[in-house]
């Protein structure tokens, strides 16, 4: 039985493990119980700053602390980080202050709260900001490892985590396998390459099994870092497979699919099919129902793979 955990739990665990560095501070906007920064708060209340329900203020309080030598990790729901986008742009990214913003409950997978809570554009907007690293890990282990790596960064970041549990993919992996900016080849196939991030990496692996039954050999890449995108790996799998699919619980505009398409536009014409939210809003539904409704599950990835191959 595959172990199931939510990526937000990996984030909370990482903050606790980072706490031995007394420069680490945590900022909350009334959602620490949800983003999982609460574990840090319980252990280190003196280094946890409650900002109330005020995301704009939180981002810049973090910036002020970063400018004073601290390493702030600020979190709220992905959708509410967007309210502070200009603070992130002008007060964090522009002066290049190492503030680490985590948006939990990202994507339609977040479920029954409905469209007001389902951020499907966060990866796209943060990717437009100079200096900002954008990460969307696929499981709790990689979330923990990547979060800890961020503490050594001298630049700001945005990380999206998910509310609901997904399979643990990296039970035994460490820093040697999981590194910011390096995509991970989870399956090595020759007919089509599925480049996925976040909760859709597990769906991509399922899709590869279905494709194998049909005699199609698929590569699966966990592209946890959306920016800087691992363009060298895109080139390798595009060359080897000749057909690509991207898969993300995010708009097909501007996120992982957008980043890969932008890269391909400067290199070669490898066919690319983008699995993602097709320029629409979500609604209330269970996580699996949302993936089905939005066209994001393994079956949709299989269809996209076959279409991409047919365009070779």
């Amino acid at each position: 039985m595959t172990k199931m955990e939510a990526t937000r739990d990996g984030y909370g665990q990482a903050l606790l493990e980072l706490a031995e560095n007394d420069k680490i501070v945590v900022l909350e906007a009334d959602l620490g119980k949800s983003t999982k920064s609460l574990h840090f708060r319980k252990a280190h209340p003196e280094r946890t700053v409650s900002c109330g329900i005020g995301e704009q203020n939180m981002l810049l309080v973090a910036a002020g602390m970063a400018a004073s030598g601290y390493i702030p990790f600020a979190s709220t729901f992905a959708i509410f980080t967007e309210r502070a986008f200009e603070q992130m742009r002008n007060g964090v990214a522009r002066p290049n202050l190492p503030v680490h913003l985590c948006g939990s409950h990202g994507g339609t997978h977040t479920g029954t709260d409905g469209s007001s809570a389902q951020s499907i554009e966060d990866l796209a907007i943060y990717r437009t900001l100079p200096n900002v690293t954008v990460i969307h890990p696929s499981d709790s282990v990689s979330t923990r490892i990547l979060t800890k790596q961020l503490a050594d960064s001298t630049s700001p970041s945005y990380m999206r985590t998910a509310r609901n549990k997904t399979p643990v993919l990296y039970a035994d992996a460490g820093d040697d396998v999981i590194q910011i900016g390096k995509g991970i080849e989870l399956k090595d196939g020759k007919d089509v390459a599925i480049i996925a991030c976040g909760v859709l990496v597990a769906e991509a692996l399922k899709a590869a099994d279905v494709l194998a039954e049909k005699g199609i050999s698929a590569t699966v890449v966990d592209m946890h870092t959306i920016k800087p995108i691992d363009s060298a790996l895109i080139d390798v799998v595009a060359e080897r497979c000749g057909a690509l699919v991207t898969a993300e619980d995010h708009s097909i505009i501007g996120g992982l699919g957008g980043a890969v398409a932008e890269h391909l536009s400067t290199t070669n014409g490898t066919p690319l099919e983008r699995v993602g939210v097709k320029d629409r809003f979500g609604e209330s539904g269970q996580a699996d129902e949302m993936l089905e409704l939005m066209g994001l599950n393994a079956a949709h990835i299989v269809q996209a793979a076959e279409k991409s191959i047919s365009r070779k």
Binding site: G54, S68, G91, R94, P95
Partner: protein, 273 residues
């Protein structure tokens, strides 16, 4: 100890720099620079613990010009303090120049926050004040806000949070010059009883005449002595103060003088032709 007369003379020199910069660039924000400059002169000369030869000294007091478009005022006092040279002022709004249109910590020594978008400086200042407390340092943070700026909702998020965290090392100076970009504040957004608003948010409040040096020095002493929570000095000022045709004139929020107006300004500031 710097006397009030000496402070007035430094402020006069700063006013000359301000008009020079805006005239040379034929762009910029003279009105709010002239209204804030007496306050900033007194702050830098009597209270702010900084080292012009070591602008990144870690335990310096922080000064955050949240109304970052009023940058000529800040560049002027930085030049008078020796953080930058008077020659550097010629780079205002010039490609590659350290005096960017809006104050920028990545470009100019002595600038602690990259401003230019209103409503951000107080939150950043809350962060530097929290950091000082964690460090066990007595260093102070001073934030200069404009009165139009407090129409931004995020200012009140920061005001509420700073009082919640009892940040006695956080100090605001409000440049109440009564004019914003389009017109007088009262026509754009009535703000009613501003001191009462800050008191209601849990702040220590003092009101002064922002062009009376003796009152300013007294007000800054009030900020220095008030340590039980955040404090604000509400300074009644005149937009464009010191230049007759700019005073209380919304047209000079963001406009440069022409040649004739420049000559008159220099004359009024006691600069011989």
């Amino acid at each position: 100890m710097t006397t009030a007369d000496e402070l007035r003379e430094v402020a006069r020199k700063c006013r000359v720099h301000i008009v020079d910069m805006v005239y040379r660039a034929q762009a910029g924000h003279p009105g709010g620079s002239l209204s804030e400059i007496d306050l900033m002169t007194a702050l830098y000369k009597t209270q702010l613990n900084v080292r012009p030869s070591e602008p990144k000294w870690e335990d310096r007091d922080r000064f955050i010009l949240s109304k970052g478009h009023a940058s000529p005022g800040m560049y002027a006092i930085l030049a008078e303090m020796g953080f930058i040279t008077v020659k550097d002022l010629e780079s205002y709004r010039v490609l590659g120049g350290i005096c960017q249109g809006h104050v920028d910590m990545k470009w100019c020594p002595g600038v602690d926050f990259s401003a230019g978008s209103l409503g951000m400086g107080l939150s950043f200042g809350m962060g530097t004040a929290l950091a000082a407390r964690l460090d066990g340092s007595n260093r102070q943070t001073y934030v200069m806000l404009g009165d139009g700026e407090i129409q931004e909702g995020s200012v009140w998020e920061a005001a509420m949070a700073s009082a919640h965290h009892e940040l006695g090392n956080l100090n605001v100076i409000l440049d109440r010059n009564r004019i914003q970009n389009d017109d007088f504040c009262e026509t754009q957004m009535r703000m009613f009883d501003i001191p009462a608003k800050w008191r209601a948010f849990g702040w220590n409040v003092m009101e002064i005449d922002g062009h009376d040096m003796e009152e300013i020095v007294e007000g800054l002493e009030f900020l220095a002595q008030s340590n039980d929570g955040p404090s604000i000095l509400i300074a009644q000022t005149v937009k464009g103060k010191g230049i007759s045709y700019m005073e209380d004139n919304p047209s000079f929020h963001g406009a440069a003088p022409n040649e004739e107006q420049y000559a008159l300004a220099m004359k009024e500031l006691g600069v011989s032709a």
